[in-house]
């Protein structure tokens, strides 16, 4: 039942139109690089590249196309078994990116859940969860992956599991810290006063307010995971051959690094570019989401 016009004798408030914001200046370099690799990874089968597994002893250690002895049939050269490097790098990006994304998603989902619970309930729940988190954080990832590789055998699943099982702890820590601050704010008290239970407060109020932090963390961590995966593959505890993986490609070129430098260099460059791009993107996201900067 709407109020009669005279009843409250207060003129209707004029709500200002939303202030027009200057368009956000997106970070072009990181997005371009990531876009390129993601695209390449997704449409790899359609690119008409030589089969990454096709060996040709005749073509082994061919240098990149611009070198004297090289040819544009293999623009980045070939490896020990004559396999085309460019093709292997493109196919390898599938592995790296998939590993990065899946691991980070799994770790962040679990870690955020732990952090939200610990931060909201506090007290003993918090203490117990944080001790578990601390213990997890101190366990070396590589060691765990090696153990898994030795006992169960190296595989994509093992890599993802090994990393995720330890990575979640970082998310838990950060999200818990943020939740501790959020929980002090009045709107949480208001939700309680309105009768909201723990589930509603956590999912409806706390979680959405941590999205910004989560996004930044996730982006920064993908780079880290890619490096860990590459390291594991380098050590032979990661993705097993013959699947092309940047880390194992670097390992394969280790012995011939002076003669056939391209075999290790290009996969290394790929790792460098992708990780750098993710880190830059993460930095940009963090700067954009920082509330203090948002004011001005």
């Amino acid at each position: 039942m709407p109020a009669e016009p005279g009843a409250l004798a207060l003129p209707e408030m004029d709500v200002p139109a939303a202030p027009t914001r200057r368009a956000l200046r997106l970070p072009r370099f990181p997005l371009a690089v990531i876009g390129l690799f993601v695209l390449a990874a997704v449409v790899a089968p359609l690119l008409g590249l030589p089969d990454p597994h096709a060996q040709s002893l005749r073509d082994r250690f061919k240098p990149p196309g611009w070198e004297e002895a090289g040819s544009w049939k293999h623009p980045l050269g070939t490896d020990r078994l004559g396999r085309d490097l460019l093709s292997r790098i493109v196919w390898g990006s599938r592995v790296s990116l998939a590993a990065g994304v899946v691991t980070v998603l799994a770790a962040s989902a679990f870690g955020a859940a732990v952090g939200l619970t610990a931060g909201y309930y506090g007290g003993r729940v918090d203490a117990v969860l944080m001790r578990v988190t601390d213990a997890t954080m101190s366990f070396p990832v590589i060691l765990l992956a090696l153990i898994l590789a030795v006992t169960v055998g190296p595989s994509f699943t093992n890599v993802v599991t090994a990393i995720a099982v330890i990575l979640w702890a970082r998310y838990a820590r950060v999200i818990r810290g943020q939740v501790l601050t959020l929980v002090q704010l009045d709107f949480v008290a208001q939700a309680r006063i309105a009768g909201a239970g723990a589930w509603r407060i956590i999912t409806r109020h706390l979680l959405p307010n941590t999205f910004g932090t989560l996004l930044v963390l996730v982006t920064l961590q993908i780079g880290y995971v890619i490096i860990v995966e590459a390291s594991l593959s380098f050590l032979g505890a990661g993705i097993p051959p013959p699947t092309p993986a940047w880390g194992s490609m670097i390992a394969e070129g280790r012995d011939v690094v002076t003669r056939a430098w391209w075999v290790s260099l290009f996969p290394g460059l790929a790792i460098l570019l992708v990780v750098l791009a993710f880190n830059l993107l993460g930095d940009w996201l963090r700067d954009t989401f920082d509330p203090k900067l948002r004011q001005l």
Binding site: A3, L10, D186, R192, I193, A194
Partner: protein, 319 residues
């Protein structure tokens, strides 16, 4: 008029420093034996400086904290003895508006959803009924209907407080706790919000527990005022009596410190020595005695009881 809220010997101690075996060695006596009555349809003003316990009292009334001892009776029923379903009913009947208009609204929710939240949690209305109620509430606080689709950051401080008030009224509560509702707002906006609150009280018959440090605002809005010091009520009674002719030395000092805008107003200087003592170790006897300009020997040993005098209740050995 029946008493809506009756608080008796309400006490809240926060334990500090637990020993290895979990023993608490000291306690912050935030609220120590507070009793008052709030009549339906009126405004009860609670004033005092930092550490006096007014915020803790409001949290106890809201059910955000559980009392260490003492009782709260709402509409005759003891709140502590309510079962789950009845507690829900209490929650609906007692709502709050807080000081900070920037922290009391979830920045990630639209205003319509914020106002509707109590309805979503407590009532089984369908979407359109909820929407109607939200528009009704927006109209009550003089915000346009399109405000429901906007986010909090698109509003000014005063408008956000209106949203907070609309939300507080969603469940048609009997009592709204107003904890410094206008202190964070610009001076020119305060009058608007205070007027709105009064109109709503006249219209809806809702009662207020009004906590503020702006004494003139409290005096303007309240029917009854209680003055707290270090967890206890030192004076309470009708607003005019307490504000214009305070009897307790602390109240006198407090209201003398509330600087009037009137340039020619008499300014009785009531000097108070020292600082407010810590609620961890309040002084013995009358808690105010170390700073009181009229201190007597009995004040250091016997805590005075809250007794009627000159039309209000005062806790002071002078009377």
């Amino acid at each position: 008029m029946s008493a809506l809220l009756e608080v008796s010997a309400l006490t809240k101690h926060f334990p500090v420093r637990r020993g290895l075996l979990g023993r608490s060695t000291e306690a912050v006596r935030a609220v120590d034996g507070v009793s008052f009555t709030l009549e339906a349809g009126t405004t009860f003003g609670l004033v005092g400086e930092s550490g006096c316990g007014k915020t803790t009292t409001s949290k106890l009334v809201l059910g955000l904290e559980r009392p260490t001892s003492g009782t709260i009776r709402f509409q005759g029923e003891e709140v502590g003895a309510l079962d789950r379903a009845q507690r829900r009913g209490y929650r609906r009947a007692v709502q709050a508006v807080f000081q900070d208009p920037y922290a009391s609204l979830d920045p990630r929710m639209r205003v319509g959803a914020i106002i509707a939240e109590p309805l979503v949690i407590n009532e089984r209305l369908d979407r359109s009924a909820r929407r109607r109620r939200v528009l009704e509430l927006l109209d009550l606080v003089s915000l346009p209907a399109r405000a429901a689709d906007l986010y909090p950051h698109e509003f000014s401080g005063g408008q956000r407080q209106r949203v907070a008030i609309a939300r507080a009224l969603a469940l048609s509560p009997r009592l709204v706790v107003l904890d410094e509702p206008v202190s964070a707002l610009d001076v020119s906006i305060r009058a608007q919000i205070l007027n709105l609150l009064r109109e709503l009280q006249e219209r809806l018959g809702v009662s207020y527990l009004f906590i503020a440090h702006d004494l003139a605002a409290v005096a303007h809005m309240s029917h009854t005022i209680a003055v707290m010091y270090l967890g206890q009520i030192v004076e309470s009674g009708p607003a005019e009596a307490v504000a214009l002719a305070p009897r307790h030395p602390y109240t006198q000092a407090l209201f003398a410190a509330a600087l009037p805008i009137d340039v020619d107003a008499p300014r009785p200087e009531v000097p108070l020595a020292g600082e407010v003592p810590s609620p961890l170790r309040p002084p013995a006897g009358c808690r105010f005695h170390p700073r009181c300009p009229h201190v007597m020997p009995v004040c250091a040993t016997d805590p005075p009881a809250l007794r009627p005098h000159a039309g209000r209740d005062v806790a002071c050995h002078l009377y």
